[in-house]
Symmetry: C2
């Protein structure tokens, strides 16, 4: 199956998770599930934006003016009396401007001695005053449902008094590593064995998307064990990811197990390199991704198929990482039988992006990935691309 | 003080934190504090990259060949016997290639009936075999100290058997919000009061940099309370951030408190808008940032001065966010007295970046920030810039 069609199938079968109330700090990097409107005017009162003196601007024309200082207002305080012509009140940044005053002159621009203030310039009405409701009015819609919450939005919600926020739930991802060749990462590798690195790479990938992750660890290549693991995973998680076990080998039981559970298998192979033997199935509103066993294939298929599904479930709109033109600095090869995601280092220079070879593109070559920050895409049917040619590329882990 | 000089002073006084052993999953988004070398060959044995049959390539020339299938090796297993001429062994992806074999032919390319295998093409030596140590040799340096650990690096470290990793410590940041005008975010705002949004914005900013954060909450504008808070914060944290209280108002005690504690005040004002009244001090190897009280000033000075210090402490090399040329789509104004960081929405189109006005640049205008994804920098001395002009800009929260 062609990559874009496979991705469409994945996304068409992915539903956005419902909302839940979370604390404001927990809402960071999540998506609003409801509109937010303001319950106050912001600022809630006419506010001084400077340390200075509040006065009537009409009292200042040209030349030198003397005012009587009748009081002082610090931030957090207010003055009940209205100020009269010829009077000034000392005021701190953020404090409420007293009734009668319509301007604040900065402390650096005046001379104060005892109760006398001397002003040397004309002040315009409104100077250094943030008007009540100038930023936001009571009842204004501030954020629409679907807004992704960054530090700035968290700060804004705090200023609006939202201690709890309605956000889309975060998907729970269950990891299953299959393969009798796998040993835990702190074990010695004996003949025929490899360490279970996919569990760690996948955990890190999910964490960076702000998803919840739980690993069932290594499951033996055995029908019943895999059946039990997948069945429990569908009960417990929103997305189940297996790695290993979806090739055509004699001991790959994933497809059989999915059928027995009653999952709806949507595809079992995609024209992508690395990562061809990738299975996607649904069971009720749960998703199953059967990724290959080789680490580069696992990361590649996660990025192309799983990451967009996780983002969509969270309510995010920026689901697909943008491609852009990349000029090759090295020659690259492909078999031409599938769309080839070639892992490279992309550098920007003078507004252009350039791709440098980082070595072996074997589906096993995790080391190449650690030296890369992006991919270039060699189209199906193309076997050789040369330095100087331009391909579409994108950054990884975005 | 000029911005770049102020930033140099901050970074020259920031020391990279020492290393500590952390679990592999905790090492994500942290920086290696020691070199990592491989304790194994990877792959640890000659490994089949396909499901197929292992055989001697010299047994295949042109035409049709018959082999005797003498066994089967699944992933995780191995075969003790050496295979002889005319023999083939069924092998799964990832399994160890048996002695005597030097090629694997894919299962899709052969016919097997009972013990007889028919091969229809010549196979070259090494086909579909990943050689022992092909990716990494025992003793090879894999990552140098200073490497930032992404999901790919976490996967690689797992495959190398590193269950624990030596990473630079993550700084602990203490937040102090000063100001009698502040109320907690779930309180009603009465006359003269505002909600303490800076604590939440700063917490979110630190969390997104993977730093530890602890807030002391709202501290009253009172010498003794501020003194005690800052003193304790220096004992407990690596970086102390206060917001509010560094202007020239009568109730701004931060500078006085820093002197009493014996901190070394490096600067108290920077030619930056928003955010001029920013204080930086050191106390032993601890850093103190006194940020202004207005939310846009807080975020701006955090991004320009605090974020680089946090990144440096963690051992990161990518400390400064890169600037790039941005073409203005709207006119913008500045007072010209300081370098003006104007918050805008930057959109990419055809390889160029364009800046759109998002409204008020008042240091209070948190709402503008929530609509922005970047800044453009209007140089000191420039009062007006017009649509069509090009300025330097950058993305925020990177």
């Amino acid at each position: 199956m062609e990559i874009r069609r496979a991705l469409d199938i994945v996304l068409n079968n992915t539903t956005v998770l419902e909302g839940e109330k979370v604390s404001l700090i927990e809402s960071l990097n999540r998506v609003l599930a409801a509109n937010i409107s303001s319950k106050d005017d912001l600022p809630p009162f006419d506010k001084s934006s400077m340390d200075g003196y509040a006065l009537k601007s009409s009292d200042t024309t040209d030349g030198l003016f003397r005012f009587k200082i009748v009081g002082s207002i610090r931030a957090g305080d207010f003055l009940d009396e209205e100020i009269k012509s010829g009077e000034a009140v000392k005021i701190m940044t953020g404090a409420a401007v007293p009734k009668g005053a319509d301007a604040v002159i900065q402390i650096e621009k005046v001379k104060a001695e005892g109760n006398e203030l001397r002003v040397f310039e004309k002040v315009c009405c409104g100077t250094n005053i943030l008007k009540k409701g100038e930023e936001i009015k009571n009842g204004d819609m501030v954020f629409e449902s679907g807004k992704f919450l960054r530090p700035s939005e968290v700060g804004m919600l705090a200023s609006l008094g939202y201690g709890k926020v309605d956000c889309h739930k975060v998907p729970k991802i269950i990891l299953i590593s299959t393969g009798d060749e796998l040993v835990d990462i702190d074990e010695k590798i004996t003949r025929g064995k490899v360490r279970n690195c996919n569990e760690y790479a996948l955990t890190a990938l999910v964490k960076n998307l702000n998803g919840h992750v739980k690993s069932y660890g290594i499951i033996k290549d055995n029908r019943d064990e895999i059946f039990n693991a997948v069945k429990t995973a569908f009960e417990e998680g929103d997305i189940v990811i297996s790695s290993g076990g979806v090739s055509v080998g004699d001991y790959d039981f994933i497809e059989e197990v999915l059928k027995k559970i009653g999952a709806d298998i949507k595809f079992t192979s995609v024209e992508i390199k690395p990562g061809k033997p990738v299975t996607f199935a649904t069971f009720k509103d749960k998703l199953f991704f059967g990724l290959p066993g080789n680490p580069l294939s696992v990361v590649n298929t996660f990025e192309v198929f799983v990451a967009p599904a996780i983002k969509k479930m969270m309510g995010r709109k920026d689901i697909i990482t943008k491609e852009f033109p990349v000029i090759l600095k090295d020659d690259f090869k492909s078999k031409g039988d599938r769309e080839n995601y070639t892992y490279v280092n992309i550098k920007e220079n003078g507004g252009n992006y350039y791709a440098y070879s980082m070595g072996s593109q074997s589906s096993n070559a995790l080391f190449t990935l650690t030296q890369s920050n992006g991919i270039v895409i060699i189209k199906k049917g193309t076997k050789t691309v040369r330095a100087g040619e331009t391909l579409n590329g994108k950054f990884i882990f975005k």
